[in-house]
Amino acid sequence: MLGLPDQNDVRMRDGLIAGSEPILAEAYDTYGPLVYGMALHVTRDRGAAEDITQDVFVDLWRRPERYDPERSPLRSWLLLIARRRAIDCIRRRDARESARLAMVDPPPTLLEDDVLASTAHKRVRKAVADLPSTHRQAILLAYYRGLTYRQVAQALGIPEGTAKWRLRNALHRIGAQLRAEGFGDRLEYE
């Protein structure tokens, strides 16, 4: 496990509480692509993803004391908030449409100009792509659509026990593949 709190996260939170705009800019520059990427993957909509990114950072700025460096790294916390907000956003759209979208690959025009895709990122994406399609669908519905395993079971017409098992097995498979490729606790950037 990584040691908490991370001193850099503590520094950033203290700076945000003190009202330092340069620290907010640093947070955006560091984690903006992460938040925007998550919002884009979930919503498949650039405008919505931009609005979500704005909301996430404005919220961080207004109430930085909500983030607790003792409990999680800032990276994980922002990723979680971005995912929750993006899922709320698509829930307001047609649920059936979003479920259908989750199971098809993202439209190439939206994601292909991805200049940030490092080798590490590509390996993770490949590990997800290498899953049996039944597993991949379950993961994508749960992670990017915010479905519970019961809803995943319903959407895929499978028993709940099978949905649970697929989610767990899929993560184990990805983890095993990436560990075998030398991934450490932190996603390495190149």
Binding site: A142, R168, I174
Partner: protein, 314 residues
């Protein structure tokens, strides 16, 4: 849990895909079951990898849009307003103490000064240099009542602080000829005002008061910037050597301070550990003994602490 563990829910849990009651059961179980805690942690990490791998650079224009929306939601604190706030808090504190002094108490010795009255006149004089470079009217601090004059001048300094003024060089109090930008001089003004408030608390029989962690950290940074030069000025420089200062309590942090003015990196010769508050009182010359834990070269550490104890404004 039907299987005595997480009932195969670890994956759903890591993905945030459990209904709330089941998520709670998994979390509770994982608290007492290291095997499941390890599985949940590992799968959560994998889920985060998936999220991180989706990183995507937003359009360039989004940055300024986000910062503008943030500014509108909560105005940022400027460096000038922050420095003014920290200093202003100590000014208000000292003024409150002076307000309750009786006539005879004004004549009692305070800190190294012959009387509280002399102390306030001395503080007003030290503040004057910052007031002058900040464009404060020189008549602001004058008058027969030292408390009123000091307070008027202090308020005028805070009022005049803005970002161009922060860059203006000014001679610091206590260190003949040492010139630093107003941003550093303001830290010193807040430092000296706190220390004199402590002197007056002694006169009033009140217990000591610890400043904010932020002010303590500012004072340490301020002193850390001056100490290499002060070591040389005191004839106690140790070129190529540094101390590793570990400060505890409010204002905690570590600093590596070179023991001579040089651009070359210095090797740590001694480690010194003490509370940040005590280190600041030591800097002000208000401690007779540092009470610090020392590792490594004792002579070097003692030289450092001896010079540090001369960094006050008296």
């Amino acid at each position: 849990m039907t299987d005595g563990h997480t009932d195969a829910l670890a994956g759903a849990y890591a993905l945030g895909a459990c209904p709330p009651d089941e998520a709670q059961s998994v979390a509770e179980h994982a608290r007492t079951c290291p095997t499941c805690a390890a599985e949940v942690a590992e799968l959560a990490r994998v889920a985060e990898w998936i999220g991180t791998a989706g990183e995507h650079r937003p359009a360039a224009g989004l940055r300024s849009r986000v910062l503008a929306a943030a500014r509108a939601a909560r105005p940022p604190t400027t460096e000038a307003s922050r420095l003014g706030e920290v200093y202003g808090a100590q000014v208000a504190e000292l003024d409150g103490l002076l307000a309750v002094l009786t006539e005879p108490q004004w004549l009692l010795p305070s800190g190294p000064h012959r009387s509280v009255r002399d102390l306030v006149v001395h503080l007003r004089g030290n503040d004057e240099r910052v007031a002058a470079v900040s464009g404060v009217d020189p008549a602001t601090g004058s008058g027969a009542d030292p408390r009123r004059g000091w307070r008027r001048q202090a308020d005028a300094i805070i009022e005049a602080l803005d970002s161009p003024v922060l860059d203006e060089p000014v001679q610091l109090a206590g260190h003949a000829g040492v010139r630093r930008p107003v941003r550093e001089a303001m830290v010193q003004r807040g430092f000296e005002t706190w220390i004199h408030a402590e002197d007056v608390r002694v006169v009033l029989g009140l217990p000591p008061r610890v400043p904010s962690a932020r002010q303590l950290a500012d004072i340490v940074d301020f002193a850390a910037g001056l100490l290499p030069g002060a070591m040389a000025a005191a004839g106690r420089a140790h070129p190529g050597k540094a101390v590793h200062l570990v400060l505890t309590g409010p204002g905690a942090g570590t600093r590596q301070i070179a023991l001579a003015p040089a651009s070359a990196p210095a090797a740590v010769a001694a480690g010194i550990t003490l509370p940040a508050e005590r280190f600041c009182r030591l800097l002000a010359g208000r401690l007779t003994s540092a009470g610090a834990e020392i590792d490594g070269d004792r002579g070097v550490a003692v030289d450092f602490l001896t010079v540090a104890a001369t960094m006050g404004c008296d």
